[in-house]
Amino acid sequence: MSKIVVDFGLCEANGVCMGIIPEVFDLDDNDYLHVLQDDVTPENEEQIRESVRQCPRQAISIKD
């Protein structure tokens, strides 16, 4: 199954991904991004791909 990979060195806590799919991406009060579940499923795939595309830092990718 495809997995979400976040480059935490690139992430700058813009929260765009959380805005798109908060069930998967969560930014805590210390600006640390948590991937709540890293499986790419048929249900969330479209929104995750949207998050990959919209991340201004290109910090998110999908690994097959």
Binding site: G9, E12, A13, N14, D31, E50, Q54, P56
Partner: protein, 404 residues
Amino acid sequence: MEAPVTKPKLVFNPVSKDYFDNPYEIYQRMRDEAPIYYDEQEDFYALTRHADVAAALKDHESFSSSRGCDLAMVRSDERPQKSIIFMDPPDHRFMRSLLNKAFTPRAIQSQRETVIELVEHYLSKVDPDHFDVVQDFSGPFPVEVITRMAGVPEEFRQQVRHWIDLGLHKEPGQLGISEENMQAHMDSGIYYYGLVQERRENPQDDMIGRLITAEIPGPDGEMRKLDDIEITGFLALLGGAGAETVTKLVGSAVVEFARHPEQWQLLLDDRSRVPDAVEELLRYVGPVQYNVRYTLKDAELPNGTVPAGKPVFLMKAAANRDPRAYDDAETFDITRDKSQAQNLGLGYGIHSCLGAALARMETQIALEHLLDFMPRYEVDFARLERVNMQNVAGYHHVPVKVLR
């Protein structure tokens, strides 16, 4: 393929008067006729389609920033000063990590009250019957915010924006760096350098203080402190990037809303649309027109190839109006579907704007206050004056009268 014989040869001159007056006309021709534009005379490339610009911004291994971000710099034999915008990974990552936590959307909330105070202060001083949105309002306030965050003493904060304006100014036809540009860079450099040395003696809790104590990995892997030149470069960049950009965005906003009063009305009716309006302004009249990169190898792009060893203009402002990426791309519409394509107004990828969240907040607060201050206004279009600058566009003068 038949080309219409009447059409003049497509030439993109980044310092021509026509381009300064209206950049968007030539962008359309470049996107349609020469997506991988090559200038034989000046030996540079330029990308204007969204797909190509976005791909080039992603591919920092091919499109290097290490020679500088402007044609004159990229061509120069001298290496640019040590500044994060002129770096590739891994150095870039180390330097950026020193300050990026201060600019997250959450972190910049601590600046909200300051921004509101400054916006109200400058608006309270203008004459509603006749004022200049840029000179009296959008020029003075952003520079105060960023220089205060950086740690510049109050009496020098406005001076910073005059150095920036002088440093970026281009006379029509001037591709290189003028003496005036050089002098402004030197003056601001000398000022910041002195400030850093003073703060080494008397440290304060601001960005200068943080940069003085920060450590990054050196070439031998050992941690090292930044030197005075590196901190000076960082401060000059913060002052420049953090000031004149919002200045131009807000000036252009007032002009575009005067041209599209129905869009202003949408905001008057529903203030919750202000953030979307800022996004649309960044797309439609974002101040940054382009950044230049240098190809370290042949680079494959969706619409062609750029060979190694060439300066390449990544034309974000052109990409942001590419009809291949957006419906009705040339229409100013604050209600548009933002998810259609990545907005490149604040860049994309490793060099994307460090102060993006601050820029958004400042512009939103400015618009909210302008909606209250001038629900009805008119712009004196005959007296609009655009800037002539390296890689940024907007207005120098936007004369406005509030209607009552």
